[in-house]
Amino acid sequence: MTGLAALCMVLPGRVTFGDKELRWPTLAEVFSTSPNLSQGEEINTVESPAMQAPSLEERAGGEVVPSAMQTPVSIPKVPVDSVTDSRVFLAAFYASLAESSERVVRVLHYGDSQIEEDRMTQQLREALQARYGGSGVGLMPLAQTIPSRTVKQQLHMNGRMIQPAQGPRRYIVYGSKRDQRSDGLYGVMGQVAVMNDSMVTGSESLMAVCTPQDNRNRYTDWRIFADSTIHYSTAGDTVYLSGRGAVYGLSQQSDTGVIVDNIPMRGCLGIVFTKIDSAQLASFYRQENVRLIIMQFGGNAIPSNRNPGTIQAIVKGLRDQVQYLKTCAPEADILFIGPSDMLTQENGEWITYPMVPYMDRLLQKMAADEQIAYFSLYRWMGGSGSMARWQETGLAGSDGVHFTRSGARKAGKAVAEWIIEGIKN
């Protein structure tokens, strides 16, 4: 023991051999009793609106990530003039809600794995539909490979129940190379199911039974987005499809009120919209009266990038996406939701990824420049280290990245309340 203590004093924190390094505890670490979260800013537990003006310290911007062991990464300043409430950029959307008694007003919620299973979108849908009418869960893919909390799907092919993976061939814009297609015809969800010869044997060869899990979501109608070569009919919860061609999505929806679509893109950075055919997007956005597009991305950039330059490039890429969507959907407002707090282990301690606050700040600046709304999940949660609190209270998983269902519910509710609060003001 004494020998080890002596060694700690003699050895430096780490020794590097080429790109590998050997680490060794420092004496301070040996005598520290607290195992977790030793660094980071004060955790702010007040669930204040995320968009409040940044504190003086925060406005000062330039942060140096404290780390006993690592060469400090210097993160550049991001001056953000965000004293104005970014909800002013949602004015057109707010105004459009008045039309909801006569026609559909559509909200698309794109995001990464944090919004899978309709965990977060559901809260916004419920809140908006309670005020402005409308029912139905909105869009879902033909083959729902990721189950949803709000709608349960069963596929039958030629009379036999099949698993989603056994169904039509899927192409996914955010998937791996082998899942992609070159023509960009992915449809509005960024994924498409292509029915081929084996599925045209009968008149009702493919049957999708889509059961809403909550009676409040009871729909009144179906909308099927598919090539004209696809024939379909519906009865209650069930859609019957036959023919050869692409199916871009099924939607359970009323014909008036607000429809909020959950469009999760697993593992996606959000830099994929430009790969989707613009004509296809534009026609959907126009016909379906899409008035708000929510983009919730950024989290997937964090774990593998430790360099501010890369983060800048990614945010630049996201900016291109925002501009692209603006041209495809000139009628729609855009809300960007930044990444949540995310934890990693450094020298055995759970800390916030140094790039989370930086990216949050860059995204906020990008949003301000592009005149779109911005919601900072990270700051709403309480800033650096808040994910650990969420874990302790069962709101986040042990991976330090994903919310649990109750955590997602809480976050979804906060976003919904923030949007609705904007209407009142």
């Binding site: 023991m1 004494t2 020998g3 080890l4 060694l7 050997l22 680490r23 060794w24 505890p25 670490e29 040996v30 005598f31 520290s32 009793t33 607290s34 195992p35 977790n36 062991m69 794995s113 899978e116 299973e117 490979t145 990721i146 189950p147 036999r160 129940m161 099949i162 698993q163 989603p164 993976a165 996914i172 955010y174 998937g175 791996s176 082998r178 899942d179 697993r266 593992g267 997937n300 774990p303 593998s304 990693t344 282990q345 450094e346 020298n347 055995g348 302790e392 209270t393 069962g394 998983g397 042990s398 991976d399 990245v401 994903h402 649990t404 109750s406």
Partner: protein
């Protein structure tokens, strides 16, 4: 100073922290002064022993205070209550061997001990169960917080939550074993309460076992300290071995893969889920056995022997053997104080019928299938009663099989409940119980029947898979087909040789392959029971049950439904470190016990300077895993 001595719920004393080792170094230095101080006369031996025991008792209490704060009072209370009751039992027994008072006292002590355990560990569970069954809206009430606040609902302690005191499941079982052993006259009661307190709260094993039985440990209290050079080496080896298991095989695998998959099975493909499940099997073992290895090593340095707790359990060839090698101190405890009192393999009595009825009712309440469970259960019990009357008690092998199955199933289910207060642990215990029964019957069965039964089962499951095309049937059908293949090969071998040895070499190969096959089958079975083993203790039981159930369901759905061979190579490459650690862990686990003993002894026999270098090297390696960069998230399935 305050930081060092005060209780802080966020920084308990754990074996994996430097702080613990600094603590232990100080404790050990003073301990050495006590036990090595020169003696002026022989009569001082006793008082030195006494000083040592008292010293370690206070150190242990400090350790528990650092870990659990004021729950130290609970520990002190059960120590006092069992010491007094056991003393009374002994007194009445010596005064009048036929007296019924000792029995009543034993019951009193068990009620107090289990009552405390039930209150702290199962209050939420029982409240929740009552609310579910009767639609009531009871909530738990922390009576100890109420008292702590000076009989007030408001104050320093919250009355709405009951916090589980660390290690309560372990030390409650220890005090029960003591009182029961005194009652059964296996040991004399301990005269000095401080000595007894030391037995109950000895810090290396206080929070996670092994559960030391009174008759094994109490005699050691009166033996002077002795630590040979070789034992010192072995103790150091156990500590390092435990740290490596805990940090490399458990924490590293958990953080970089297992937790992610169990948190969100749907984010991962079938193969990743299956891999994570097997890795979880290794993790649970490495975590728990690593911790007890360290406990054994630390105790050994102070001259105390704690019983072995794990004997490479994944080498087992059947579930029954697994339970003899896994958490052995708990297994022995349950056998001595539950299974044998129920009748063991010799008889069944009131206890057996009582617990079976409870289990049947609880399963019916849990599933909502009242008559579907209770009617077959009533028929089954009627058959058991009739058969039991016909049998000559405990003589025939059939009656032994029946009795042992009935009683061991109860032991498994209650053992499951001991691990955690939620349904998933009961289900887990039940599956293990069933596995043992099926395996025992299987081993009593001839090859013709085995092959026929396996064939029927496999085709039945395949038909179900075809008819319903659900992932769960796919999973079972594939599993059954694999078992069927093994059974068919061995059946053919048996038909050809008809148990006569035709060729010595072939017979040896057959035996080795059969062993490997049995080990793999047992490991797979145990791994699948782990679907129900993961606890989520920071949630209330209602959501803990829901989360546990959803996780198990989603994992089965992914394994049986979202299988995609194309992504397996990508996964193996991207997660190569995690995969390598898992494979290394399993290979080391399966190294023959004899080799392990040899390298342990070789380590112990090293010259001191070499041992110091080896220890430093091992710690550097372990530290690299503590500080390793996290495996980034990579998705393969979209």
């Amino acid at each position: 100073m305050h930081h060092i001595f005060a209780f802080d719920a966020n920084s308990p004393l754990l074996f994996t922290q430097f702080y613990f080792w600094a603590f232990f170094a100080l404790v050990y230095a003073l301990f050495a002064l006590i036990v090595e101080s020169p003696l002026r006369s022989k009569s001082k031996v006793k008082s030195r022993l006494h000083l040592r025991n008292v010293y370690l008792l206070f150190v242990s209490w400090f350790f528990y205070y650092k870990t659990s704060g004021l729950f130290l009072l609970i520990l002190a209370f059960v120590t006092l209550s069992d010491w007094i009751i056991a003393g009374r039992i002994h007194k009445y027994q010596t005064a009048n061997p036929k007296s019924q008072i000792p029995k009543a006292l034993l019951a009193l002590s068990v009620i107090i001990d289990l009552g405390l355990l039930a209150y702290f560990k199962y209050a939420y569970f029982f409240t929740n169960m009552v609310n579910d069954l009767f639609g009531t809206g009871f909530r738990v009430f922390d009576i100890f917080a109420y008292i702590g606040n000076g009989f007030s609902q408001a104050g320093r302690f919250s009355v709405d939550t009951i916090v589980l005191p660390v290690g309560i499941s372990f030390y409650i079982f220890q005090v029960i074993s003591y009182t029961a052993d005194v009652y059964r006259r296996r040991i004399e009661p301990v005269k000095n309460i401080l000595d007894f307190g030391f037995y109950v709260s000895f810090f290396p094993q206080l929070v996670a076992g092994p559960i030391v039985r009174a008759e094994e440990f109490i005699p050691q209290l009166y033996k002077p300290f002795r630590l040979s050079r070789r034992l010192f080496g072995i103790a150091v080896f156990w500590i390092l071995n435990g740290l490596a298991k805990k940090i490399i095989m458990s924490d590293y695998l958990a953080v970089n893969l297992i937790d992610r998959v169990f948190d969100n099975p749907l984010l991962f493909s079938g193969f990743e889920n299956l891999f994570a499940l097997f890795a979880y099997s290794l993790q649970v073992y490495a975590d728990f056995s690593g911790y007890t290895d360290i406990a054994i090593g630390v105790a050994m340095l102070m001259g105390f022997y704690l019983p072995q707790n794990f004997d490479s359990p994944y080498k087992s060839q059947n579930p029954q053997e697994f339970w003899r090698r896994w958490h052995m101190s708990l297994g022995r405890w349950l056998k001595t104080y539950l299974y044998i009192p129920l009748g063991g393999n010799r008889s069944i009595g009131f206890g057996t019928y009582f617990w079976w009825t409870v289990i049947a009712f609880v399963s019916a309440a849990l599933t909502g299938w009242w008559w579907q469970i209770l009617v077959p259960f009533a028929v089954f019990m009627a058959v058991v009663v009739i058969v039991n009357r016909q049998m000559v008690h405990g003589k025939s092998s059939h009656s032994k099989l029946l009795y042992s199955n009935l009683n061991s199933f109860i032991t498994q289910v209650l053992g499951g409940l001991w691990h955690g207060a939620s349904w998933n642990f009961i289900i887990w215990g039940g599956i293990n119980g069933l596995g043992m029964i099926v395996n025992k019957i299987w081993r009593e069965t001839g090859w013709h029947v085995r092959f026929a039964a396996m064939t029927v089962l496999t085709f039945g499951l395949m038909a179900l898979d075809y008819a319903y095309n659900l992932p769960v049937w796919r999973l079972f059908a594939v599993w059954a087909a694999i078992v069927w293949t093994g059974t068919a090969i061995r059946y053919i071998y048996w038909l050809v040789t008809a148990d006569k040895i035709i060729n010595q070499k072939l017979a040896i190969i057959n035996r080795k392959l059969s062993t490997a096959w049995a080990v793999l089958q047992t490991f797979t079975f145990i791994t699948f029971t782990r679907l129900f083993f993961r606890s989520s203790s920071n949630l209330d039981p209602a959501s803990a049950n829901e989360v546990a159930w959803t996780t198990a369901k989603n994992m089965v759905n992914q394994i049986g439904g979202a299988w995609n061979n194309a992504i397996i190579p990508d996964f193996l490459w991207e997660y190569r470190w995690v995969v390598a650690m898992f494979v290394a862990g399993m290979v080391i686990h399966w190294v023959p016990a004899d080799w392990k003993r040899r390298y342990r002894l070789a380590f112990a026999a090293m010259p001191l300077w070499l041992m110091v270098i080896a220890v430093c090297a091992a710690i550097i390696v372990i530290y690299q895993f503590v500080t390793a960069d996290m495996q980034p998230f990579i998705y393969f399935q979209f």
